[in-house]
Amino acid sequence: MRDTIVIGMSGGVDSAVAASILVENGYNVEAVFMKNWDEEDQEFCTAAEDYKDALQVCEILNIPLRSVDLTDQYWEKVFKVFLNECEKGRTPNPDILCNKEIKFRAFLDYALELGATKIATGHYAQIKTTDNNFQLLRGKDSNKDQSYFLYRLDQSQVSKSIFPIGTLDKERVREKANSLGFLNHNKKDSTGICFIGERNFRKFLKKYFDEQPGEIISDKGTVIGEHEGLMYYTYGQRQGLGIGGGHGTIDAPWYVSDKIIQENRLVAVQGHDHPDLYHSYLTATNINWISGSSPGENDIITSKIRYRSKDSGCKIKKQSDSILVEFDSPQFAVAPGQSIVFYHNDVCIGGGIIEARSNTPSH
C-alpha cells in the first residue's frame, strides 16, 4: 500500500499547493484542518472561512479533509508561555513554539494515530537526508524561507516531516494554485502571530494584562513620554511611542533601546544609528541543535536574530547551559525572548532564545 501522508491544511495557498504536490507524487494524501484557537469575538473569526477554503481544495484534489481540535494543547503549551514571556517584558515568538509543541508534536501524534507515516506542511523549508541524519535547509525562495520558525525541531520530528513547496518560490506556488482552480490562489498571506492575525496586537493583549503604564525616558534620563505597559513594546520599535515634538534636538525618530523592568520604564533613543540600539554580543539559552550535536567552535556559521533579518557572521562560545554569540558586526535591536537561529550555508543547524545582549564578552 502507498504511504499515507497527512497534510496540515490551513486553508491558505501554501498548504493547498503542498497537498497537490503530494498527490502528484503518488502518495495517499489526507488533509487535516487544525484548530488551535477558540474565537470568542466573531469580529475576527476566520476559522470557518479557512475551513471552507481547505474543503474546496480537497474536493479538487479528491482527498478527504478531517479536523482536529488542539485548542487546549495550544493554550497550555504555547499561549501561556507567550503571556508569561510578555509579562517579563520579553519578545516571545509563539509561532516557533507552536511548531515545536503543536504542529510537529500534537498534530504529528494525531496524524500517526490516523495511520500516517509522515506529515507534510506548507512551510518554505527543505529536508535533506544524509547518512542517518535529517538536515533542515532553507526554503529555495529566500524571500519566503521559514526555516527560522522550525529551528526547535529535533531529529525525530524532522524525520517524519515533508515540506513539498520548499523547492518552489511563492510566485510559482500561486500560479500552480491558480492553474488547479484553487479559490485561495490569491488569498493574502497570513501575517503576524497566528492567533492575533490581523488584529491590533496591543488591543488583543490588553484583555490579558492589567494596565501598567509608566514613563518613557531618553538615554539622558529625561522623561519624554508615557508607555502603556512594557509588554506592548519591543526593542527597536519605532511606531506607537507617542513621543511628540519638543523632545530631543535632532529631527529624527525615536526607537526603543531598553526596558528597565524594575522601574517599569521604557528607554528610547533618537535616530536609527544610535549606538545604544546596537550590540555585538548576546547570550542565548534553551539551545536546540537539530542534528543533536553542537557545531564546532571554529565552524563558519551565520545567524538571524529575527525572522527575515539578513544573515550575520558570528562565533559561538559554549558556556555551561548557554552560549555566548559574538557577531562580526554589531546587531540592531537584539530582543531578549526572540530566537537566534544559526545556519551553516543553507543548513539550519539550530538556535536558542536570546537572554541578554551586551557590547562586551564579559558574562
Binding site: 484542518f33 484548530k35 475551513y51 478527504p64 478531517r66 479536523s67 490516523l114
Partner: protein, 369 residues
C-alpha cells in the same frame, strides 16, 4: 456508501424526489396569484397541509410551513419577546435551535431556566415544575433527543404544564416517522417538524400551532401562511413534505419494527466482537435505530476518519463549522465523563439499511477497534 447517519438527514424517498421535479417544472406559478395556475398551486399546498396535519392528528389550519425545524423553533421562542410573560423553561439537552435562541433573546428581556436530565437523558418532571414561576410564559422540551434518542415523557409534562395555563412546545424533529406523534394525545400547544428527517426534502418544515392567535408573524412580508410567515411558498418542498409525512405515518409500524430490528441486530453483533463499549441513553425508551455508543479508549474523530476511509458514514454528535469535535453538551449534561464523551459515535439506521450493511459495519469496526 454505507449510510448510518439517518438522524442527521435521510435520503429522499424516490416518490418524493419525482414529485419535486414534477412540481418545479409544472407548477411554477405563484400560489398567491389568482389565475388558474396560481390557484392550482395553492390547492396543492393546501392538500399537503392536510397530509401533514393528518400525520400528527392535527387540523389543517393548525399547520404552518416553515423553512425547517430550526425556523419552527425560532418562531415559537422569539414570540416570547412579545408576550407579557418573559420566562422560558427548556431542558438542558435541547438542540442548539432551542438553546442558542434562548440565549440570544436574553438581550430582549427574556429569562430562562434549563431543567436537568438524568444519566439516561430523561428530563425530570418535578425539576421542571420547580422552575415554574409567575413569569413563565413557555415550556419547550424536545420529544426525542437527537444524539441519544431518549424519548421524553412529553404527555405527562404537558399535562402538568398546560394545567398551569403555560403554553407547551415540543421539538419533534427527530420523532416523526420513527414513533407515533399525535398532538392531541400529547396535549401540546406547539410542535416543530422537519421534512428531511423523514425522507422528505431539505429546506422545508412545519410548525403545529394549536391556536393560531397565540403567535404573531415571524418572517414579515406577504400574507402567506395566514400572515404568520411572509415569502413565496416553497411549493415543491411543501408538497414533498406532504407526501413524505403521509408515507412516514402509513409505514410507521413497519418502519419502527425494521429500525428496532436493525438496532438489536447491530448490538448483538457488536457484543460478539467487543465488550469495551457503553451505550448511552435510555435503551428502554428510545428512538428505534438510534444508537449512541462510547468506545472506551478510542477517539471518536479517529474512529470516524477510519470509517470514512471505508466509505462508512456515522456521526459523533455535533461538529462545528470547522469540522472540529467538541465534547457533546448533551452527553455532558447526562454526566458522561469527557474522555468517554470524546469517544462517542452516533449510529442512526434508516429504513433503507439492511442486515448485510450492518455486517459490513461490524466487519469494519472489528478491524478498527
Amino acid at each position: 456508501m454505507l449510510y448510518f447517519d439517518n438522524s442527521a438527514t435521510t435520503p429522499i424517498h424516490p416518490e418524493v424526489a419525482e414529485k419535486l421535479d414534477y412540481i418545479n417544472r409544472e407548477h411554477y406559478a405563484n400560489p398567491s396569484s389568482i389565475y388558474n395556475q396560481g390557484r392550482k398551486a395553492k390547492s396543492l399546498i393546501e392538500n399537503a397541509r392536510k397530509q401533514v396535519a393528518d400525520a400528527i392528528g392535527a387540523k389543517s389550519d393548525q399547520i404552518f410551513f416553515t423553512s425547517g425545524g430550526t425556523e419552527a423553533n425560532n418562531q415559537v421562542l422569539w414570540n416570547s419577546i412579545e408576550n407579557d410573560k418573559k420566562h422560558i423553561i427548556a431542558s438542558s439537552i435541547e438542540h442548539p435551535a432551542v438553546i442558542r435562541v434562548i440565549n440570544k433573546i436574553r438581550s430582549f428581556g427574556i429569562t430562562s431556566s434549563l431543567a436537568s436530565v438524568d444519566e439516561d437523558g430523561t428530563v425530570d418532571i418535578d425539576s421542571i415544575l420547580k422552575l415554574v414561576n409567575d413569569d413563565t410564559g413557555l415550556v419547550s422540551i424536545m420529544l426525542a433527543n437527537n444524539e441519544v434518542g431518549t424519548i421524553q415523557p412529553i404527555k405527562e409534562i404537558a399535562k402538568k404544564i398546560t394545567r398551569l395555563n403555560i403554553p407547551f412546545h415540543t421539538d419533534a424533529v427527530q420523532a416523526l416517522g420513527k414513533i407515533p406523534v399525535d398532538v392531541t394525545s400529547l396535549g401540546i400547544d406547539y410542535l416543530s417538524l422537519s421534512a428531511h428527517k423523514f425522507y422528505g426534502p431539505k429546506g422545508i418544515g412545519a410548525l403545529y400551532i394549536k391556536n393560531k392567535k397565540t403567535l404573531k408573524s415571524f418572517i414579515i412580508g406577504g400574507e402567506q401562511e395566514f400572515g404568520l410567515r411572509g415569502g413565496t411558498e416553497n411549493i415543491a418542498g411543501i408538497i414533498g413534505m406532504g407526501i413524505a409525512a403521509e408515507i412516514a405515518t402509513k409505514d410507521i409500524d413497519s418502519c419502527y419494527s425494521h429500525l428496532k430490528h436493525l438496532e438489536d441486530y447491530f448490538l448483538a453483533k457488536l457484543h460478539s466482537i467487543s465488550s469495551n463499549f457503553i451505550r448511552n441513553g435510555n435503551s428502554n425508551n428510545c428512538l428505534p435505530g438510534l444508537i449512541s455508543i462510547s468506545f472506551k479508549g478510542h477517539k471518536s474523530d479517529v474512529l470516524m476518519a477510519k470509517l470514512d476511509r471505508k466509505n462508512i458514514a456515522v456521526s459523533n454528535g455535533s461538529a462545528c463549522n470547522t469540522g472540529n469535535i467538541k465534547p457533546s453538551n448533551i452527553l455532558k449534561e447526562m454526566g458522561i465523563r469527557d474522555d468517554l464523551n470524546l469517544s462517542t459515535l452516533r449510529i442512526s439506521f434508516g429504513k433503507n439499511n439492511n442486515e448485510k450493511e450492518i455486517d459490513k459495519l461490524i466487519e469494519a469496526l472489528k478491524e478498527i477497534l
